[in-house]
């Protein structure tokens, strides 16, 4: 509990799981959830480092901005997803593969 490594391991796990979701999930919203997990992992690291780095509030501020970004990102991403849905009637990521051409 007063050990940095524990938090880092949790964060690493969250990150790995998030990445896994991003890689494997077909549904765009699920992918988005994976992204959220990754962001949370990052935030957790930031705050843990702040705590064990001499209670440096800058870390908190940074995490705060990440949260703000995450919010914005989700809003925009969802908007895009809705758009894709309207066009393809599906939000499966592997069906929207125009990038291949």
């Amino acid at each position: 509990m007063d050990n940095l490594q524990v938090y880092l391991i949790i964060a690493a796990l969250l990150f790995s799981l998030g990445l896994f979701a991003v890689i494997t999930r077909r549904n765009a919203i699920a992918v988005l959830m994976g992204v959220e997990l990754i962001l949370n992992a990052a935030n957790l690291n930031l705050i843990a480092f702040a705590r064990f780095g001499g209670m440096n509030i800058t870390g908190h501020i940074f995490a705060l901005f990440v949260i703000v970004l995450a919010a914005a990102e989700v809003a925009v991403a969802l908007a895009i997803i809705l758009n894709i849905y309207q066009n393809f009637n599906s939000i499966n990521v592997d069906e929207a593969q125009q990038l291949k051409q």
Partner: protein, 683 residues
């Protein structure tokens, strides 16, 4: 400003201004601007007369005025230009002005109706300008420049009716042949300049007198200058252009190719005589003498009236050149002046006849008959009395009959030649040239007179339509005929058998400046001439009479048949008739090989050198590139690189499947890459 300078500047530039006006606006002026040129040339005539009168009134045999200005200079190199005015100059200016004025007036009718009438007058003015440049030049530089300009105007005037191919060829031939001579001229100038460092006569004379150029070099310089004269005065072997130049309008032939331009060579030799070495002089004498006889032998078989006159001009110029070589060069100048008058007159006479013939043929709508062929004439005396008399007087003059001007100068020439032979006891060949030519001259001139003006008309229908030429054409004939009488040149002496008079006093011979006393002095020459004067005169009279008699027998009385004699002397006749095949020989030996050489050079340059050598570089490079390419492609590329390539392709083929367009796959690969890096890092 000096009065002489004023006069000469006017004389020099007025024709140039007239040329400028004529060439740019001539066509738009009333009467196509002929009055501009005529006005200019008449003004120069008046000014020349004024100068001449001034010279006579203030008689001074050593009169000399020199005006010059720096034309261009660098720190150490300088060329000056300017006028040299002495007695020779003034007389020559007058001669040019008289003949040129006559030509201008004659052309009023002769050239009337020509589509390029104003252009013709422009060219005449240009010629007058250039010729005056030769006369006035005080340095070889201005002389050479004017020399070339004269060549240009001659080119333009010979080629005036350029629609005819033979005319255009004649112009080109004249220019190029002259250029051959000019090369020698130019080399002579360079030799003198290199040794002396100046182009002006006075410096050159001083330099030669100082011995700054001697021996062979001076001889070569003299011969070089003489080559220029050979070209311009149409001496053998560069005489070929002058007969062809008769393709030009007749006033041009009279002005340029009889009286003035062709005499420029003689004039130059007279100018530079003091620097000629004995060797150069002998060469000059032989070339001149040979030309005199050689041209005369051709003249006797010509049937074209202008061709007869052309060859007679050659012959007379040969006389002048010859006598320069013998040392009695004042006789050459004397003959130049006199010849200008009577030869111009002969040409105007011929022009008058041709004009008449032309109009007669025009009336007959006959375009095939050659209006210049004497065989189509005959008996014209009745129809064209003034022309006849003018030509008769001139023929008498050229044949060297007493009471006419030609006698005086011809006599002086033959006396000079005889004097040389007597002084040196060698060079007898020159006597044969001189007297032989005199005999033939009388013969062919009267042959022409008899065929043209006597006997029965050979073509009565043409004859019926012949009439005397208009007044504008007769005035020059009359004036020049008068000037062919001896008295104008011998006053106050009226003995027709002596050439002593104002003229011989006026122009004094200059001493040779060649150091070492290898040339005879003026006194020696005059002494020997004095001795040989009487025998030369008697001989020349006898041969002239013989020539005249022969012509009379053959072409008037017809007791000797020309045809029979032509057959009897077939080989000689053929040689003469074909002008010794000189044109053909040149064509074969010089002209064609030269063009062939040019073709060969062009071929070598473009189709051999460039194609094979230069492009060969390219080809070799391409070939090397190909070899390298093959090695590169088959070996390195196909073998080594392509195996990579194929491997890559295969890999790519398999990896292509990875390229799915799915972001998730890409992220996966990114993660994979991170993992790989991680692993590598650890290892």
């Amino acid at each position: 400003m000096n009065i002489f300078l004023q006069y000469t500047l006017l004389i020099y530039f007025l024709p140039l201004i007239a040329f400028g006006i004529q060439i740019f606006v001539g066509k738009r002026l009333p009467r196509q601007g002929d009055w501009v040129s005529i006005g200019a040339v008449l003004t120069t005539l008046i000014l020349s007369l004024a100068l001449f009168a001034g010279m006579l009134l203030n008689y001074n045999p050593h009169f000399e005025q020199n005006f010059s200005f720096t034309w261009l200079e660098t720190a150490n190199f300088k060329i000056t230009m300017g006028f040299l005015i002495d007695n020779i100059t003034i007389i020559m200016l007058l001669v040019v002005a008289i003949v040129s004025s006559a030509s201008h007036i004659f052309s009023l009718k002769y050239m009337a109706g020509d589509p390029r009438y104003s252009r013709f007058y422009a060219y005449l003015s240009l010629f007058t300008f250039s010729m005056n440049g030769i006369v006035l030049a005080n340095s070889l530089m201005l002389l050479y420049m004017s020399w070339e300009l004269v060549g240009l105007s001659s080119y333009l005037l010979i080629g005036f009716w350029f629609e005819k191919d033979s005319v255009a060829n004649a112009g080109k031939k004249a220019f190029l042949t002259n250029r051959v001579g000019d090369i020698g001229f130019f080399i002579g100038i360079m030799l003198l300049f290199t040794a002396i460092g100046s182009f002006s006569y006075s410096d050159i004379f001083a330099g030669v007198a100082d011995g700054r150029i001697t021996g062979t070099l001076l001889t070569l310089a003299g011969i070089g200058l003489f080559m220029g004269a050979v070209g311009k005065s149409a001496q053998f072997p560069l005489h070929i252009w002058l007969p062809d130049a008769m393709e030009g309008p007749t006033p041009v032939s009279a002005l340029i190719h009889a009286a003035t331009m062709v005499a420029a060579g003689v004039f130059m030799m007279v100018r530079v005589f003091p620097i000629l070495t004995p060797d150069a002089q002998i060469l000059i004498a032989y070339i001149g003498g040979f030309t005199a006889l050689f041209a005369a032998t051709i003249a006797i078989t010509r049937t074209d009236i202008k061709q007869v006159l052309a060859y007679s001009t050659l012959s007379q110029l040969g006389y002048m050149i010859m006598v320069v070589g013998t040392g009695a060069y004042i006789a050459a100048f004397f003959h130049l002046v006199i010849h200008a008058m009577f030869k111009a007159n002969l040409f105007y006479g011929a022009g008058s006849v041709i004009h008449g013939m032309h109009h007669a043929l025009h009336d007959l709508k006959d375009h095939k008959t050659d209006p210049q062929d004497m065989r189509n004439m005959g008996g014209l005396k009745a129809k064209m009395p003034i022309t006849f008399w003018a030509m008769l007087i001139s023929s008498l003059a050229i044949s060297g009959i007493p009471f006419f001007s030609g006698f005086l100068s011809k006599d002086a020439i033959l006396a000079g030649t005889l004097a040389l032979v007597e002084r040196t006891h060698s060079h007898h060949l020159l006597l044969i040239f001189g007297f032989g030519a005199a005999l033939l001259t009388a013969f062919y001139m009267f042959r022409m007179i008899f065929i043209t003006f006597y006997n029965q008309p050979s073509r009565p229908q043409i004859f019926a339509r012949m009439k005397e030429s208009p007044r504008a054409m007769l005035i020059p004939l009359i004036v020049l005929s008068v000037l062919s009488v001896y008295i104008f040149y011998t006053l106050p002496n009226i003995n027709p058998l002596s050439d002593k008079g104002w003229f011989t006093h006026l122009v004094e011979a200059k001493e040779s400046l060649v150091p070492g006393g290898i040339n005879p002095t003026v006194h020696d020459i005059e002494e020997s001439i004095h001795h040989s004067h009487t025998p030369a005169m008697i001989t020349s009279l006898i041969v002239a009479a013989m020539g005249l008699l022969l012509a009379w027998l053959m072409y008037f009385k017809k007791t000797l048949s020309a045809e029979v004699w032509a057959k009897r002397l077939k080989p000689l006749y053929n040689l003469s008739y074909n002008k010794y095949y000189i044109d053909e020989i040149y064509n074969k030996v010089l002209y064609r090989p030269f063009l062939k050489l040019a073709d060969w050079v062009a071929y070598l340059d473009w189709n051999v050198y460039d194609k094979y050598f230069i492009n060969g570089f390219g080809k070799v490079t391409v070939w090397l590139a190909k070899i390298v390419g093959i090695a590169d492609y088959e070996g390195l590329d196909q073998g080594v690189v392509d195996s990579f390539g194929r491997g890559t392709k295969r890999l790519g083929g398999s990896l292509k499947k990875l390229q799915t367009g799915k972001i998730q796959s890409y992220i996966l690969f990114a993660a994979l890459a991170v993992v790989i890096i991680l692993i590598l890092q650890v290892l």
